[in-house]
Symmetry: C2
Subunit: 341 residues, 2 copies
DNA sequence: GGATTTAGCCCAATCGTTTAGGCACGCCCT
DNA sequence: AGGGCGTGCCTAAACGATTGGGCTAAATCC
């Protein structure tokens, strides 16, 4: 029903030309139009329920006000939602729209999809990855505004946003230090990715800041899931002089550490304090006691990427910022003072 | 660089009119064109790296080949990813694109967003909800192709796809019955939603099919999170004649049941078998032992919705199917035979 | 009073396609 | 020789907006 009301219909009803309608409706500055005419046009538009045709406008303006979020497998991870949501909200705040494409990790498919989006005159791209890592940006994105999300490329031509892993590692460790712990284990993961290195660095820095020596027996690497956490937990808690607290690479590993503690009859947080990373609510909220952890700024990264991208497109700015966003602590119940000797 | 190659450039290079280029490139049937010309056009297009301008085409054809997925808060839930992914893959299989909009639950915002999408000439909508429920479809969607996902409306004008909760409930229960259990508890949730009713129905049906009487002391309702599961678990396991198995409304509750079992020193699956629902991998894979559960067909629902919607748009079909998709079992390690008396 | 300015609007081109409806040429037939 | 019919291509009108450059009348200036 709302169908087929074009600017021509509005012009006709208001008794003016389409030019005038366009000028009025877009509030084009510097155009001299009688205020009577203005209201007549507005009324006509309202009465007819006129909605400008975005496709026609895009064609004429050579700008679609559409952004595309392309990702490897992001939509399959639990983090994805927040990134997408942050991006979508930001886009909508600017009056832009967001398209979504997932390559499933296949570079060829990815290229095809990006081409399809470019044909649709998408104005800019957000290239996002499932977890923080280095990427080679696809060639097809070379000459179109693009920002990287949770990803980093050597190429300084792209703005990028990633979590500040080092700061996150420090935050997590600091929580334990401030609770009074002096022997703090790190259940690390085995992959060589920025998150691993960054969080470990943060752990070391914070130990140092607290006047503690780094002891590599307290750093145990395993796979970054609950099974790995279990394994790392068993190893750490099996030490002759066991740690009173464990910082876990992520919440899944923390879940495993809980299990290892339970096997040994250790109670959290009374006998052992635990801090996770990621703030996966499903886990962190579900564990007993709730897991104190550090949240990744997914929502903020999504929003930052969109804001920056739109700015790059509209203001045609030339600097390409590369930021790290802080990871805030989320306190629940898994940290307490170390047990009395 | 790839900028600005229009059909006109191709026409010029091939020494023909744009009409001919269009005919050739689109393989318009019934057009008589010399095969020499055909190859010349194709070569010119290749050489110039011609990409048709989708916006112009949309304007002319009055069809954008773009679908929109609008949801209340879907993108924030862990399930979201799979729905979105299923939808996106299906769309891309058809050569369509997917836009994403999240209303955050605000009906006004939702209306605005939908209008914005309609202005952009989106061809159809998928209206999705965070969890299976009844909805009132927004007025603005009345006169545009729309299918409902994980949602159901009274209005028979909309096709819809939801999980078959009853079958899922039966499947979960059957796993326990077939393992030999005769006293099976149900840790139910407190909300009156289709999932609750359906899974409970399935539970009852399957008990009956197995020749067991329904005992309402074995059905305990609590909030649908780990805390609720803990509570329900404690109540069920505190019964004088305790169940040997518990079917949980969802995996989060199952997580709580694990905790309740641990408190009582009961070992899973040796002393107690547990089945969940949802197949939240973060939980189901992380628990020890792994949780046997029933998966929601999110990916399939996403794909089904897109396929159906495109069919509705292209073939202009008039029937509006309303399907329930089955929920497959995912076996892990939380079910065993009941303990010997 | 004639020239100039100004207010208020409109014409028509443009963005890049698709497509209905020609038009010219050569061939065959009578 | 003239008519009819394919073949192979092109012209031009959409689609629905935006916008540079008019144009007309009334108001103002000298």
């Amino acid at each position: 029903m709302t169908k087929k009301v074009s600017i021509k219909d509005v012009a006709e009803r208001a008794g003016v030309s389409t030019t005038t309608v366009s000028h009025v409706l877009n509030d084009v500055p510097g155009k001299r139009i009688n205020s009577d005419t203005r209201v007549r046009v507005r009324e006509a538009a309202d009465a007819l329920g006129y909605q400008p045709n975005g496709v026609a406008r895009s064609l004429r303006l050579q700008r679609s006000q559409i952004l595309a979020l392309v990702s490897d497998e992001i939509a399959t991870t639990p983090h994805a939602g927040k990134i997408i949501l942050g991006a979508q909200e930001a886009a909508s705040r600017h009056g832009w729209l967001l398209m979504l494409v997932n390559s499933g990790g296949d570079a060829h498919v990815e290229g095809q999809e990006i081409q399809a989006l470019r044909r649709r005159q998408v104005d800019g791209f957000i290239y996002a990855t499932m977890y923080h890592r280095e990427v080679a940006v696809p060639e097809v994105l070379r000459d179109v505004p693009t920002v990287l999300l949770d990803a980093r490329a050597d190429d300084p031509a792209y703005a990028s946003v990633v979590p500040d892993e080092v700061d996150g590692g420090r935050t997590a460790t600091r929580i334990l230090v401030e609770a009074g712990h002096r022997r703090i284990g790190f259940a690390c993961n085995v992959d060589d990715i920025p998150a691993t290195r960054g969080r470990l660095d943060g752990y070391r820095q914070e130990l140092e800041a607290g006047g503690m020596a780094y002891d590599d027996r307290l750093v145990v690497a395993a796979t970054s899931d609950a099974a790995g956490g279990r394994e790392a937990g068993r190893r750490l808690l099996g030490l002759e002089h066991r740690p009173t607290a464990i910082f876990c690479f992520n919440d899944r590993m923390a879940m495993g550490v809980y299990q290892a503690a339970a096997e040994l009859g250790l109670r959290i947080p009374h006998d052992l304090s635990v801090v996770g990373f990621d703030d996966q609510e499903l886990i962190a909220d579900g564990l007993l006691p709730g897991l104190t952890t550090v949240a990744l700024p997914h929502h903020e990264m999504g929003a930052w990427a969109v804001d920056t991208l739109i700015d790059q497109i509209e203001a045609d700015t030339t600097d390409r910022p590369r930021v790290r966003l802080l990871c805030p602590a989320v306190e629940r119940g898994s940290v307490a003072a170390p047990p009395a000797q």
